[in-house]
Symmetry: D2
Subunit: 347 residues, 4 copies
């Protein structure tokens, strides 16, 4: 059994980790930290966990995280990097759900996250936890920086196009028009995500710049091995969970003849959590609700050169906690799908 610790379990990615890990056949939940809630049973804060999680939150100094096999950080940005070195030294693997180990260039990190990076040397070692791209490296990693929710959907959506030997699309002018449920904003008391503000409403935000842009560009460039230009426009949807990314890419003249549907189907044939839908489909976010699945559909309206790629995922599962468990499975030599085969909740 894998002894798991969680730092910061009071947010949505934390409670989702608890939901997944509580039912994982090879996991023992060992400790979960929260200085503020020290002593409070987790199931008191989240009654959904009554009968499933008997742990209480404990203050970090009592938590003995160094005795865990792996520690997940479901914390605000900046926490994991302050504790990772010590845990790694104690032989504990680290999986960060925040952004501390996503961006390889510490200057870029500092520009977008407004804080200095306290262990840039670990950035080199950290593996970007997107199994469909880095499966092999994840198996042997000690330190994982999990992708953001939007970046997961964008990279999975563009990957088959970009990972060919030569460009198929105009890689300098990719567009990602993305829509997310409000749980992506976290369990923070804020006015703009109140039900009375966000319900029966729709808006774009961060059009002039969003933290997930540099991360995604870095990821797409790693996939392509070439420079990539991306415009990313996120929107807020009045729903709890789910991301729908509508991606646009223009086929190059020499690639007009390719069978994009086949390309995607073959590309993802061996990836258990990417489902390429039949041609002409329109994936719904609820078709992956509360599951680790990502579904993709391809369109070429009017038979023209513009590809429209539709990608859905649950931002809290494949976009966060589920992807973390998928990485953990790989890191510990377990079946990649273990504890992750939930049937999505519909309706």
């Amino acid at each position: 059994m894998i002894k798991v610790g969680i730092v910061g379990g009071t947010g949505y990615t934390g409670v989702e980790l608890l939901r997944l890990l509580a039912a994982h056949p090879q996991v023992t939940l060992s400790s979960i930290t929260s200085r503020k809630e020290d002593g409070m049973p987790v199931a008191e804060m989240f009654p959904s966990l009554r009968g499933h999680v008997s742990l209480a939150f404990s203050a970090p100094e009592k938590a003995r995280l160094d005795q865990c096999d792996v520690v997940f950080f479901a914390t605000p940005h900046g926490v994991a990097m302050s504790q990772a070195r010590e845990l790694l030294a104690a032989g504990v693997k680290v999986i960060d759900l925040a952004a501390d180990f996503r961006i390889k260039d510490s200057a870029v990190f500092e520009q977008w996250y407004g804080m200095p990076h306290s262990c840039p040397d670990l950035l080199a070692e950290a593996v970007y936890g997107l199994p469909e791209v880095n499966r092999k490296a994840i198996r042997t990693a000690r330190l994982i920086g999990l992708p953001g929710c939007y970046p997961t959907s964008m990279q999975l959506g563009f990957k088959p196009l970009l990972s060919q030997g030569k460009p198929l699309v105009n890689e300098s002018a990719l567009i990602a028009d993305c829509k997310s449920g409000v749980s992506g904003a976290g369990r923070k008391a804020e006015v703009h995500t109140l039900l009375a503000e966000a319900s029966d409403n729709f808006k774009a935000y961060g059009v002039s710049g969003h933290r997930h842009l540099p991360e995604t560009v870095q990821g797409l460039q790693a996939i392509a091995g070439r420079a990539v230009g991306l415009t990313f426009v996120p929107h807020l949807v009045p729903m709890i969970r789910g991301i729908h990314s509508t991606l646009y890419a223009t086929l190059l003249p020499e690639a007009r003849g390719i069978d994009v549907q086949s390309l995607y189907e073959q590309h993802y044939a061996d990836d258990p959590f990417v489902d390429v839908l039949p041609a002409g489909s329109h994936p719904e976010t609820r078709s992956v609700r509360a599951s680790n699945m990502c579904r993709i559909a391809l369109h070429r309206p009017g038979g023209g050169d513009l590809l429209v790629i539709l990608v859905v995922e649950d931002n809290l599962v494949k976009g966060a906690a589920g992807q973390g468990v998928q990485c953990m499975n790989l890191m510990f030599g377990l079946e990649e799908t273990m504890g992750l085969m939930h049937v999505p909740i519909l309706p």
Copy 2:
């Protein structure tokens, strides 16, 4: 034209007041205060008001509220009572949307609101701003304590039964099972009213005691002229606006023969904002959305002794800002319905 000032216009009752007053034919919006937002145009915070409200927020000391004809307080509890005396002395009428002047007994106020009352002498003068009960007193009032949103619906629902010479129902065992949209909690950053918490969810709250209970009991007792016992159970509905109160009262044996439908229709025949629906109706909250109307329907399941009274209102209009404008109209000798005849928004 009536010169109107608003203290605290950054919450939902404030922006709703602005919506109503901006289109009121006899009102000039004179000033709106917010220390924190001093100088910011109101329409910058609430783009819905662009082109309708050109005022900017101003710090209280600049606002010259003493030159207004009437000042509305759309503030947290405790603010109006600290400023009312001075405004009244300057000849300004005061309408408080918070609870400062609702409860006649300052000890009860202090018990439920956790603060001392700074001007108990004004409590005696203050008129409880429910026109259907106190229309005459409101016309000549200088100081109005507007009812809470739930209390408005409960009092309008029970009033015809309680206001008869002798009891018709068991007045010691009234039940009000009330449901409110989340805007009733205000525009405050809080976790439990986030869309990701409150959407696709339903719960009761405050069952052991809610501030609107003593206010409603006081009001019902004033209507009845007798002691009244009430159990009040509020619930949170995943919607923005609207209150639906399901009221239960048991007919006394000697009243079994009354025609409750007629009683209500006759009782409210002259009240422009109370609409008694045909027998057998089920009012929907959206049938009064964004309007000052209250709709009531009566049921007597199985022909038994238990009356079920269904009441809907928009908590921000008839439950707050609209009722304030209705009182203002009465206080200034205007048509009671002036500026309040909006057609509800459906769908």
Copy 3:
């Protein structure tokens, strides 16, 4: 392995059955019928089932239901009673999620469901599938009539009070103010449950009479062994799943001293799917979302005689499909909780 057939799998209880049974360790999904969708893979209608259910719908005559161990009917009222006799004769157990076998008195059935009952003799044999009441009888039953969603919550909420030797509350004047998400209305094309109609809206319905009233009264009377009077007021909540029942019962003078909290905790100590919350709690529907759990909290506002009992369940799980699987487990000698220990989905 239990060979399971499903008649009518295109509605919400059908797809929920599929979700639960697809992951049940002792079940083989054998066939699912739909004349209209004959030949269509189930996962094409419900993409959430892709990779989990490989069955296609088949026309009834092809389905060989007589070779199943158990057949679930997730059909409109009237279908199960037309097929049950033949299946029972073939040695197949039958679990009906509709109302055909709920009501013992066929005259009452006919009055409320507007159709004659075609096999009143089977009504005597049919067991009402509420395990917390009829566990023993269910174990040996061949034919189960599963409770309705509302009746499950009302009976579980009142049961500890009514099942004592002598009355504790005024059993002639029980009130159930119930609120349900719209999936309770089924997956039927109807105007009043369109998102544009039911969203941002709240209403009562069926106050003059609802089919779940006679069923619940029958159940409560069976529990109490005495006549029971109930007023039932259902409401429609703008959410997908969940029932919240707010129950009212008046303590008899001689019962004022009882410890209701202890009574409930002890009563349900051995029921794996009923969770009595700590005193003072307010259960949320989302705390049981997509799970078979029912949570109950008890209040006695102001220390008076009126008990307020709050009950939540997922109408599609404990209120339908999950309860069916729970019964199946009992009927086949399996662990009652098998395949039903999902952690609720929150947020």
Copy 4:
């Protein structure tokens, strides 16, 4: 006073027309037809109209539409074209909210709407009712084909760019990623727009082809005087009202220096219902809820060549009924804004 008739008032555009016209100072509602609901008071179907609309539906043959000054068709496609000729002959102006008179080429109409056009000669006369494009022609028109909801937002969003003498953007590769609330699907009983299907969910639809594409291309080409290529991807948002169009256009090298913000502000300076927001804004659909306003914001992410234009409107007002009233005002020489200056409903 203008005598107004409405054909088909039982859908969302019909009830919205009633809301607007009931409060219009120069309108007398003369008749509203529905064969199915003949004799039923309109306010019985839509209780929101109680006290505002006293008309009853009448069968077409009783309605005396030929005595109206103007008749609105809020009907399915195909109805207006069957009755327009006769009304025009009787001197009645006609405004069609459906698609019968939107598309100039009857062959294109037939291809997309699947029915022959019964009066192609009237197509030549019909004026496309988008006042910001055709104000002058609308003033003297007898027959108006009102734009669809999506096309209104796309045309208003692209117009300033396309209406310059020479191209500023790559007009052959425009993209419109549009999101609509479900009221856009009308008040029809359908499964996919049930709350239990569409709530807490997001999806694209009609990517391979949507009826609003040829209409919009026709409109954009009329604006530009040049061929235009457009990819249109509509999405369904779990909200009642509102359209948010995210438009993408690539600046041509020679146009990189233009001040797009100024261009839009100047272009729409005299249009009362188009509001260009300050640079950097993100318009929300609720900022125009229940109003005739359209708000636009402009972005140029990273200072690159890709323009991102954000457009919001209420699909039932500026996208349908409100635009119809705006046209009516122009056709009868009234102030363009008469009866349309509602303050949007927020929250």
